[in-house]
Amino acid sequence: MSEAAAIETHGHEAVQVDQLETSLTPDNSGKLGMWVFLAGDAMTFGAAIAAYGALRIGNPNWPSPAAYLGITTTAVMTFILICSSVTMVEALSGIQHGNMSKYKNFMALTVLGGVLFLGMQAFEWHHLLGEKGMSIKRDLFDATFFILTGFHGCHVFGGVVYNSVLFIRGATGKLTPARSGLVEIAGLYWHFVDLVWILIFTFIYLI
C-alpha cells in the first residue's frame, strides 16, 4: 500500500521501479494477445500429435504411411506454405516502410499461397477418400490422419480469411502504415500455421 503511494508521488522514479510491469511486447500489445492464443493453439496441436504418437507406437499393426500417403503433392504443399510465409514477411516489410503497393502485391500472393494449399489438400483428400479407400471411420490410421490434417486445414482456411480481410482493408485504404502492427499480428498466426504444417508433414507423412 505504501509502495503504491510512493509510485504515485514520485512519478519518474516509479517508472524505474516498475520495470516488471512493462509489457512483453511494448511496441504492440496485440502481439502479446496473439502469442498467448498461439500458445493455447500449440497445446491443442501438441496434444493431438502426442495422442497420434501414442496410438501409433501402441499399435504394432500400424500401416506404413508410404502405403497410403504420397509425398509428392504434400512436398509441394510444404514448399508453397514456406513461400507464403516469405511473402507475408515481405508484405509486412512493405507496409512498415509505407510502401502500400508492395504490401498489396505480397499480401495477395500470401492469400494465393493459402488458397493453393487448400486446393491441393482438397485434391489429396479426394484421392485418398476415393482411390485409396480411406475414411475417417475405417481405422485409427485414417482417423488420426484426417483429424490432424483437417484441423490444420481449418487453420489455413482461417488464415486465408484473416489475410484476405487485411488485404481488402489495405486495398480500400482503411489500413494505413501507421497500423502495420495488425499485419505483424496476422503474420504471427500465418507463420504458426506454417510451423505446425512442418511438424505434421514430418510426423504424419515422412516418419
Binding site: 497445446m43 501414442a54 514448399f79 514477411v89 516489410s93 501507421a178 502495420s180 516418419i207
Partner: protein, 134 residues
C-alpha cells in the same frame, strides 16, 4: 499521423528488417530437401526417425525465431512460446507408462480376474433368467 509513421520507422522496427528473409527461405528449402532425401534413403529406422524429427524441429525453430521475430523479442516472451513445448513434453512422458506396459498384458492372469459364477459387484444384477420366476 506523422508521429505514428515516425514511430514505425524507429530503430526497433529497423532491427526487424535486418533479417535476410531470402536467406531464411533458402535455409528452409534446403532443410526440406534434406528431409526428403532422408525419407528416400533406406536408413535404420531409429536413425531415420531421429534425423527427420531433428530436421523438422530445426525448421520449426527457424520459423519461430526469424519469421515470427522471436529472436528479436524480449526474452520473457519466450516463456509464453515455450509453455506448450514444455507441457507437451510432460504429456508425452505421461503417456509413456501406458505405452511401455502394453506388452505386459500376457501377465494379466496373475491379477485376480473374477471367474464366472463368482459373485462380483452388485449380486442382484446378474440373476439367471430361469431363477427370476421362483
Amino acid at each position: 499521423m506523422t508521429t505514428q509513421a515516425a514511430v514505425s520507422a524507429s530503430p526497433v522496427h529497423a532491427e526487424h528488417h535486418e533479417t535476410n528473409y531470402i536467406a531464411v527461405f533458402i535455409y528452409l528449402s534446403i532443410l526440406t530437401a534434406v528431409e526428403l532425401g532422408v525419407y528416400a534413403m533406406s536408413l535404420p529406422q531409429i536413425l531415420r526417425v531421429g534425423l527427420l524429427v531433428a530436421l523438422a524441429w530445426a525448421k520449426a525453430v527457424i520459423v519461430a525465431m526469424y519469421f515470427m521475430h522471436l529472436a528479436m523479442e524480449k526474452r520473457a516472451l519466450w516463456m509464453i512460446a515455450m509453455t506448450p513445448v514444455v507441457l507437451v513434453t510432460f504429456l508425452c512422458f505421461m503417456l509413456l507408462p501406458d505405452l511401455t506396459t502394453r506388452m505386459w498384458t500376457h501377465f494379466d492372469h496373475k491379477i485376480k480376474v473374477p471367474v464366472s459364477g463368482e459373485a462380483v459387484g452388485p449380486p442382484a444384477a446378474q440373476v439367471p433368467p430361469g431363477a427370476s420366476g421362483s
